[in-house]
Symmetry: C2
Subunit: 213 residues, 2 copies
DNA sequence: CCTAATATTTCCCCCGTGATGAATAACGGG
DNA sequence: CCCGTTATTCATCACGGGGGAAATATTAGG
């Protein structure tokens, strides 16, 4: 008789939790949060859908577990912050482009953004991450007058690049080669890093600046 | 007896279609695409939910009808393009900020973006709109070498501002006053409008530019 | 004015989703 | 060996979008 998976605990010690996480990870990153159903994940993991509730509480819980699993891409950003301020925009641009162009990490980030637009809680998560991991760090790295504002503007620019290139895929930015991208976006990024009245970050302070109140 | 709304066509000529549209419009713009249910719209319009299917085919159909109802915000952008190139960034910034800060139009745009993240078709719509209404128009306005690329970068910057300020609400950009916003974002926008090697758009062509192949 | 076609409207049902609670089986410490 | 804990499935629930069929009003054709 078809003695299928009867009710109750399975024999042995199959790490079902991890198994579910792996399936969920791949599906979420390749199809986006909304387009994946718990049932399909459960089916692919050969497990009852209720197990997901049992282990992770909810679909969002599962998504959160998947997210916290993989390495933080903010680390790449933080790494790009170190070094000469003059070439910081180039480093950040290359780093961001690399991360988002990567099929694995890029899919993950797109999944996050897609979830953020849909759900308020996840939008707050994105906001938090952006502020903490990018704006604050950059502001600390910059220092000086208006550091926080300039850091915010810098991150806004990078966000715009990412959204147009990788999420909306607006031409011609979407299909530009990385080199051209860096050339195109370095000037504005540098412009926003400059304190008003200075021509070069950390440059000659005797340059004619605006009157400081 | 409570002779409630019996089955069949109502007497008179109540413009139910328009009535549904009005309710849907308000709900979609105030709560976002995903968070509004057809049933709740139908209830508020005092109508059976199947009527929405009848008139608009699907939820997306209803959303599309709602969108095509109101005026295009790209017109504001196009209007800001006219005038002196030197102060174009300021005009665009003020215009964009005004439109998105408006409770009515802003809600609508947020609803669109939220829908775009959820559905592929709507994402394509956003991409199309951005390319046609912003990049191409700006490129035509700019002219000159690399006009299309610079227009793309410009729009990427504006997109980034919008996403950080109005969608993700990342500080400090989210709560800056409009004046400060314009001051902060004008330099990078101007930087991207400049042809490489020129200091001012439409400026002295004898300035040392790159060799043209 | 009468009747057939058409438009609008409700009712009832389907299916898929996320979530919960009860039942059941294996595990593990005593 | 016994019993609490953990893992697993099953049976549902409430809700969301969608569709078909019947009922009623309006309109067109004579």
């Amino acid at each position: 008789m078809n003695n299928g998976p009867r009710r109750g605990r399975r024999t042995g010690s199959p790490d079902t939790r991890t198994q579910i996480l792996e399936v969920a990870r791949r599906r979420f990153f390749s199809e986006g949060y909304q387009n994946v159903t718990l049932r399909s994940i459960a089916a692919e993991a050969a497990v009852d859908a209720a197990l997901i509730s049992y282990f992770f509480g909810s679909k969002k819980g599962l998504f959160g577990a998947v997210l916290s699993l993989s390495a933080n891409p903010a680390d790449f950003f933080a790494q790009a912050l170190e070094g000469d301020l003059t070439t910081l925009p180039q480093r950040v641009l290359r780093s961001v482009d690399l991360v988002w162009a990567d099929p694995e990490a890029g899919s993950r980030l797109r999944a996050i953004v897609s979830g953020a637009a849909d759900d308020v809680a996840m939008a707050a998560l994105v906001k938090e991450a952006l502020e903490r991991e990018m704006v604050d760090r950059l502001a600390a790295r910059l220092g000086g007058r208006d550091a926080h504002r300039r850091a915010g503007a810098f991150c806004a620019q990078v966000t715009g690049l990412v959204m147009t290139r990788f999420v909306f895929r607006v031409e011609p930015v979407a299909s530009m080669r990385p080199d051209a991208l860096v050339r195109l976006f370095t000037p504005p990024l540098r412009a926003v890093l400059l304190e008003p009245g200075r021509r070069r970050p950390g440059g000659d302070p005797s340059a004619p600046g605006r009157k400081r109140s």
